[in-house]
Protein backbone atom coordinates (compact mmCIF):
# COMPACT_ATOMS: atom_id res chain seq x y z
CA UNK A 1 0.00 0.00 0.00
CA UNK A 2 1.32 3.44 -0.80
CA UNK A 3 -1.81 5.49 -0.33
CA UNK A 4 -3.54 6.35 2.90
CA UNK A 5 -7.01 7.59 3.69
CA UNK A 6 -7.77 11.15 4.79
CA UNK A 7 -8.88 9.71 8.09
CA UNK A 8 -5.46 8.16 8.64
CA UNK A 9 -3.78 11.43 7.74
CA UNK A 10 -5.95 13.43 10.15
CA UNK A 11 -5.10 10.99 12.93
CA UNK A 12 -1.41 11.81 12.33
CA UNK A 13 -2.20 15.51 12.05
CA UNK A 14 -4.06 15.57 15.39
CA UNK A 15 -1.47 13.41 17.15
CA UNK A 16 1.43 15.64 16.08
CA UNK A 17 -0.25 19.01 16.50
CA UNK A 18 -1.35 18.33 20.07
CA UNK A 19 0.82 20.96 21.74
CA UNK A 20 0.43 19.37 25.19
CA UNK A 21 1.33 15.84 24.28
CA UNK A 22 2.32 15.21 20.65
CA UNK A 23 2.79 11.52 19.81
CA UNK A 24 4.46 9.91 16.83
CA UNK A 25 3.11 6.36 16.71
CA UNK A 26 0.52 7.11 14.03
CA UNK A 27 3.15 8.95 11.95
CA UNK A 28 5.53 6.01 12.25
CA UNK A 29 2.82 3.49 11.25
CA UNK A 30 1.59 5.59 8.35
CA UNK A 31 5.11 6.20 7.06
CA UNK A 32 6.09 2.56 7.33
CA UNK A 33 3.01 1.37 5.47
CA UNK A 34 3.20 4.08 2.83
CA UNK A 35 6.91 3.95 2.14
CA UNK A 36 7.79 0.28 2.67
CA UNK A 37 7.52 -0.91 -0.91
CA UNK A 38 9.21 2.21 -2.32
CA UNK A 39 12.15 1.90 0.07
CA UNK A 40 12.54 -1.74 -0.93
CA UNK A 41 12.52 -0.80 -4.61
CA UNK A 42 14.93 2.12 -4.18
CA UNK A 43 17.38 -0.09 -2.33
CA UNK A 44 17.14 -2.69 -5.06
CA UNK A 45 17.63 -0.11 -7.81
CA UNK A 46 20.71 1.43 -6.21
CA UNK A 47 23.77 -0.62 -7.10
CA UNK A 48 25.58 0.06 -3.82
CA UNK A 49 22.57 -0.82 -1.66
CA UNK A 50 21.37 -3.84 -3.62
CA UNK A 51 21.84 -7.12 -1.75
CA UNK A 52 23.04 -5.37 1.39
CA UNK A 53 19.82 -5.77 3.42
CA UNK A 54 19.72 -2.05 4.07
CA UNK A 55 15.93 -1.56 3.88
CA UNK A 56 15.42 -1.56 7.66
CA UNK A 57 18.31 0.87 8.26
CA UNK A 58 17.04 3.23 5.58
CA UNK A 59 13.51 3.04 7.00
CA UNK A 60 14.79 3.78 10.50
CA UNK A 61 16.63 6.88 9.24
CA UNK A 62 13.52 8.00 7.36
CA UNK A 63 11.35 7.71 10.48
CA UNK A 64 13.86 9.69 12.53
CA UNK A 65 14.01 12.43 9.91
CA UNK A 66 10.21 12.56 9.60
CA UNK A 67 9.83 12.92 13.38
CA UNK A 68 12.46 15.67 13.49
CA UNK A 69 11.09 17.61 10.55
CA UNK A 70 7.32 17.02 10.59
CA UNK A 71 6.51 20.27 12.41
CA UNK A 72 9.15 22.64 11.07
CA UNK A 73 9.19 21.09 7.58
CA UNK A 74 5.50 20.42 7.01
CA UNK A 75 2.79 21.03 9.62
CA UNK A 76 4.04 24.54 10.45
CA UNK A 77 6.30 25.11 7.45
CA UNK A 78 4.74 28.45 6.48
CA UNK A 79 3.94 29.60 10.00
CA UNK A 80 0.37 28.30 9.99
CA UNK A 81 -1.08 24.82 10.37
CA UNK A 82 -0.91 22.80 7.18
CA UNK A 83 -3.39 19.91 6.96
CA UNK A 84 -3.11 18.95 3.31
CA UNK A 85 -3.11 15.11 3.03
CA UNK A 86 -1.67 15.02 -0.51
CA UNK A 87 0.95 17.63 0.30
CA UNK A 88 1.98 15.52 3.27
CA UNK A 89 2.39 12.47 1.10
CA UNK A 90 4.58 14.38 -1.39
CA UNK A 91 6.63 15.83 1.46
CA UNK A 92 7.08 12.40 3.06
CA UNK A 93 8.29 10.88 -0.22
CA UNK A 94 10.73 13.77 -0.77
CA UNK A 95 12.16 13.29 2.74
CA UNK A 96 12.37 9.52 2.23
CA UNK A 97 14.13 9.84 -1.13
CA UNK A 98 16.66 12.30 0.32
CA UNK A 99 17.37 9.98 3.23
CA UNK A 100 17.88 7.07 0.86
CA UNK A 101 20.28 9.16 -1.27
CA UNK A 102 22.26 10.29 1.80
CA UNK A 103 22.37 6.72 3.04
CA UNK A 104 23.65 5.48 -0.32
CA UNK A 105 26.37 8.17 -0.32
CA UNK A 106 27.45 7.06 3.15
CA UNK A 107 27.65 3.42 2.03
CA UNK A 108 29.60 4.40 -1.11
CA UNK A 109 32.07 6.36 1.02
CA UNK A 110 32.48 3.41 3.39
CA UNK A 111 33.00 1.02 0.50
CA UNK A 112 35.65 3.37 -0.91
CA UNK A 113 37.44 3.60 2.43
CA UNK A 114 37.29 -0.17 2.87
CA UNK A 115 38.80 -0.76 -0.56
CA UNK A 116 41.55 1.74 0.22
CA UNK A 117 42.12 0.08 3.56
CA UNK A 118 42.46 -3.32 1.89
CA UNK A 119 44.98 -1.84 -0.55
CA UNK A 120 46.99 -0.27 2.26
CA UNK A 121 46.93 -3.45 4.28
CA UNK A 122 48.07 -5.54 1.35
CA UNK A 123 51.05 -3.28 0.61
CA UNK A 124 51.97 -3.11 4.29
CA UNK A 125 51.52 0.64 4.82
CA UNK A 126 48.86 0.30 7.47
CA UNK A 127 48.48 -1.76 10.62
CA UNK A 128 45.23 -3.61 11.17
CA UNK A 129 42.71 -1.78 13.33
CA UNK A 130 41.32 -4.71 15.22
CA UNK A 131 44.43 -6.20 16.64
CA UNK A 132 45.51 -9.53 18.12
CA UNK A 133 45.86 -9.82 21.89
CA UNK A 134 49.66 -9.65 21.58
CA UNK A 135 49.48 -6.48 19.53
CA UNK A 136 46.87 -5.14 21.93
CA UNK A 137 49.29 -5.59 24.82
CA UNK A 138 52.04 -3.82 22.86
CA UNK A 139 49.72 -0.94 21.95
CA UNK A 140 48.56 -0.69 25.56
CA UNK A 141 52.15 -0.43 26.76
CA UNK A 142 52.97 2.24 24.18
CA UNK A 143 49.84 4.11 25.13
CA UNK A 144 50.73 4.08 28.84
CA UNK A 145 54.26 5.27 28.07
CA UNK A 146 53.01 8.21 26.06
CA UNK A 147 50.48 9.22 28.71
CA UNK A 148 53.09 8.98 31.46
CA UNK A 149 55.77 10.86 29.51
CA UNK A 150 56.56 14.54 29.77
CA UNK A 151 55.68 15.16 26.14
CA UNK A 152 53.57 18.31 25.64
CA UNK A 153 49.92 17.68 26.28
CA UNK A 154 48.77 18.90 22.84
CA UNK A 155 51.11 16.40 21.16
CA UNK A 156 49.88 13.59 23.39
CA UNK A 157 46.25 14.48 22.62
CA UNK A 158 47.09 14.57 18.92
CA UNK A 159 48.57 11.11 19.08
CA UNK A 160 45.63 9.63 20.97
CA UNK A 161 43.11 11.40 18.74
CA UNK A 162 44.76 10.00 15.65
CA UNK A 163 44.66 6.47 17.07
CA UNK A 164 41.02 6.99 17.89
CA UNK A 165 40.13 8.25 14.44
CA UNK A 166 41.94 5.36 12.75
CA UNK A 167 40.30 2.82 15.05
CA UNK A 168 36.80 4.28 14.91
CA UNK A 169 36.53 5.45 11.34
CA UNK A 170 38.52 2.85 9.43
CA UNK A 171 40.73 5.40 7.71
CA UNK A 172 44.40 5.57 6.78
CA UNK A 173 46.96 7.61 8.70
CA UNK A 174 47.00 10.30 6.02
CA UNK A 175 43.20 10.54 5.97
CA UNK A 176 43.19 10.69 9.76
CA UNK A 177 45.44 13.79 9.67
CA UNK A 178 42.84 15.57 7.54
CA UNK A 179 40.01 14.50 9.82
CA UNK A 180 41.95 15.49 12.91
CA UNK A 181 42.62 18.99 11.62
CA UNK A 182 39.07 19.40 10.36
CA UNK A 183 37.38 18.26 13.56
CA UNK A 184 39.71 19.23 16.35
CA UNK A 185 41.23 22.45 15.03
CA UNK A 186 38.47 24.60 16.49
CA UNK A 187 38.18 22.77 19.81
CA UNK A 188 39.83 23.71 23.08
CA UNK A 189 42.21 21.14 24.53
CA UNK A 190 39.63 20.51 27.30
CA UNK A 191 36.99 19.66 24.68
CA UNK A 192 39.46 17.55 22.80
CA UNK A 193 40.18 15.44 25.87
CA UNK A 194 36.44 15.14 26.55
CA UNK A 195 35.86 13.80 23.04
CA UNK A 196 38.79 11.43 23.28
CA UNK A 197 37.58 9.99 26.56
CA UNK A 198 34.11 9.42 25.13
CA UNK A 199 35.42 7.85 21.93
CA UNK A 200 38.11 5.67 23.55
CA UNK A 201 36.00 3.96 26.18
CA UNK A 202 35.10 1.03 23.93
CA UNK A 203 38.63 0.38 22.66
CA UNK A 204 40.46 -1.70 25.27
CA UNK A 205 44.00 -0.54 24.43
CA UNK A 206 42.94 3.11 24.22
CA UNK A 207 40.78 3.47 27.31
CA UNK A 208 42.10 5.82 29.96
CA UNK A 209 42.31 4.88 33.62
CA UNK A 210 41.17 7.41 36.23
CA UNK A 211 44.79 7.99 37.15
CA UNK A 212 45.84 8.67 33.54
CA UNK A 213 42.88 10.94 33.06
CA UNK A 214 43.79 12.87 36.21
CA UNK A 215 47.34 13.23 34.92
CA UNK A 216 46.13 14.64 31.60
CA UNK A 217 43.73 17.02 33.35
CA UNK A 218 46.55 18.16 35.63
CA UNK A 219 48.62 19.01 32.55
CA UNK A 220 45.69 20.92 31.07
CA UNK A 221 45.47 23.03 34.23
CA UNK A 222 48.98 24.39 33.70
CA UNK A 223 49.20 27.91 32.35
CA UNK A 224 51.21 29.12 29.38
CA UNK A 225 53.59 32.10 29.28
CA UNK A 226 50.69 34.38 28.32
CA UNK A 227 48.83 33.37 31.50
CA UNK A 228 46.16 31.31 29.74
CA UNK A 229 45.24 27.87 31.05
CA UNK A 230 46.34 25.20 28.55
CA UNK A 231 42.94 23.47 28.54
CA UNK A 232 41.28 26.73 27.47
CA UNK A 233 43.53 27.15 24.46
CA UNK A 234 42.32 26.10 21.05
CA UNK A 235 44.10 23.16 19.44
CA UNK A 236 44.92 25.22 16.35
CA UNK A 237 46.84 27.74 18.55
CA UNK A 238 49.67 25.21 18.65
CA UNK A 239 50.08 24.66 14.90
CA UNK A 240 53.51 25.39 13.51
CA UNK A 241 54.22 27.59 10.50
CA UNK A 242 54.44 24.59 8.20
CA UNK A 243 50.62 24.25 8.37
CA UNK A 244 48.08 22.14 10.28
CA UNK A 245 48.48 18.78 8.56
CA UNK A 246 52.27 18.91 8.50
CA UNK A 247 52.21 19.91 12.18
CA UNK A 248 49.98 17.02 13.15
CA UNK A 249 52.10 14.61 11.18
CA UNK A 250 55.28 16.00 12.80
CA UNK A 251 53.89 15.61 16.35
CA UNK A 252 52.70 12.07 15.74
CA UNK A 253 56.06 11.10 14.23
CA UNK A 254 57.88 12.53 17.24
CA UNK A 255 55.79 10.43 19.57
CA UNK A 256 56.23 7.34 17.44
CA UNK A 257 60.01 7.91 17.54
CA UNK A 258 59.77 8.25 21.31
CA UNK A 259 57.94 4.91 21.49
CA UNK A 260 60.46 3.26 19.19
CA UNK A 261 63.33 4.45 21.39
CA UNK A 262 61.59 3.23 24.54
CA UNK A 263 61.02 -0.17 22.90
CA UNK A 264 64.77 -0.55 22.42
Amino acid sequence: MNHYSEEEFYKVFHDITDTQHPVFDSLVNLAQETLKSSVKRWCYEDSCLRGGSYEDDVMQEILIRLIKNCVSGFFMRDGKLNNDPDGFKNWMFTVAKNVKNDFAKKIRRMQFIESELDENLSDGTLSPIYVSSEAEERLSTSFRRVIDSDISIYKVLTWIAQMLIIANMNVTKIQSNDILVQHFGFLTLDNMLEMIVAGAKDIPWLSLSDEQLARLRYKLDETTADGVRLGDKTYSDFYMKKGPKATVSDWVNRINNFIAKEDK
Partner: protein
Protein backbone atom coordinates in the same frame (compact mmCIF):
# COMPACT_ATOMS: atom_id res chain seq x y z
CA UNK B 1 7.18 32.37 26.93
CA UNK B 2 10.00 30.02 27.92
CA UNK B 3 12.18 29.07 24.97
CA UNK B 4 14.04 25.88 24.17
CA UNK B 5 17.67 25.81 25.26
CA UNK B 6 20.44 25.50 22.68
CA UNK B 7 21.39 22.14 24.19
CA UNK B 8 17.83 20.86 23.80
CA UNK B 9 17.79 21.94 20.16
CA UNK B 10 21.16 20.38 19.42
CA UNK B 11 20.19 17.11 21.13
CA UNK B 12 16.98 17.12 19.10
CA UNK B 13 18.53 17.77 15.69
CA UNK B 14 21.26 15.18 16.30
CA UNK B 15 19.45 12.22 17.85
CA UNK B 16 19.79 9.06 15.81
CA UNK B 17 17.58 6.40 17.32
CA UNK B 18 13.93 6.00 18.21
CA UNK B 19 14.60 5.27 21.87
CA UNK B 20 12.28 6.63 24.56
CA UNK B 21 14.47 9.52 25.72
CA UNK B 22 14.71 10.82 22.16
CA UNK B 23 10.97 10.49 21.63
CA UNK B 24 10.35 12.47 24.83
CA UNK B 25 12.70 15.17 23.60
CA UNK B 26 10.92 15.14 20.21
CA UNK B 27 7.60 15.62 22.03
CA UNK B 28 8.95 18.58 23.98
CA UNK B 29 10.57 20.25 20.97
CA UNK B 30 7.83 19.58 18.43
CA UNK B 31 5.15 20.55 20.94
CA UNK B 32 6.93 23.82 21.61
CA UNK B 33 7.74 24.81 18.02
CA UNK B 34 4.11 24.40 17.02
CA UNK B 35 3.46 27.70 18.72
CA UNK B 36 6.90 29.35 19.00
CA UNK B 37 8.14 30.68 15.67
CA UNK B 38 11.44 31.88 17.13
CA UNK B 39 12.45 28.42 18.30
CA UNK B 40 11.04 26.87 15.11
CA UNK B 41 13.44 28.94 13.04
CA UNK B 42 16.33 28.01 15.33
CA UNK B 43 15.49 24.32 15.02
CA UNK B 44 15.36 24.63 11.22
CA UNK B 45 18.74 26.39 11.13
CA UNK B 46 20.46 23.95 13.46
CA UNK B 47 18.92 21.03 11.60
CA UNK B 48 20.22 22.17 8.23
CA UNK B 49 23.72 22.81 9.59
CA UNK B 50 23.78 19.42 11.32
CA UNK B 51 22.49 17.58 8.23
CA UNK B 52 25.09 19.27 6.05
CA UNK B 53 27.90 18.34 8.45
CA UNK B 54 26.76 14.73 8.50
CA UNK B 55 26.48 14.72 4.71
CA UNK B 56 30.10 15.86 4.52
CA UNK B 57 31.75 13.57 7.01
CA UNK B 58 29.10 11.01 7.98
CA UNK B 59 30.09 11.00 11.65
CA UNK B 60 27.18 12.17 13.78
CA UNK B 61 29.00 12.44 17.10
CA UNK B 62 31.68 14.69 15.59
CA UNK B 63 29.03 16.80 13.88
CA UNK B 64 27.20 17.17 17.20
CA UNK B 65 30.40 18.13 19.02
CA UNK B 66 31.23 20.65 16.30
CA UNK B 67 27.82 22.26 16.44
CA UNK B 68 27.89 22.42 20.26
CA UNK B 69 31.31 24.03 20.26
CA UNK B 70 30.29 26.56 17.59
CA UNK B 71 27.14 27.47 19.51
CA UNK B 72 29.20 27.94 22.68
CA UNK B 73 31.63 30.23 20.84
CA UNK B 74 28.76 32.30 19.42
CA UNK B 75 27.13 32.64 22.86
CA UNK B 76 30.48 33.65 24.36
CA UNK B 77 30.96 36.30 21.66
CA UNK B 78 27.42 37.58 22.09
CA UNK B 79 27.87 37.87 25.85
CA UNK B 80 31.19 39.65 25.37
CA UNK B 81 29.65 42.18 23.01
CA UNK B 82 26.77 43.01 25.36
Amino acid sequence: MMHLSVDQIIDFVSFDSLEETNMKLAQTVNGHILTCSECREKVKDFQSVFDELVRRNADKSLAKMYIKQSAKEVLKENNASL
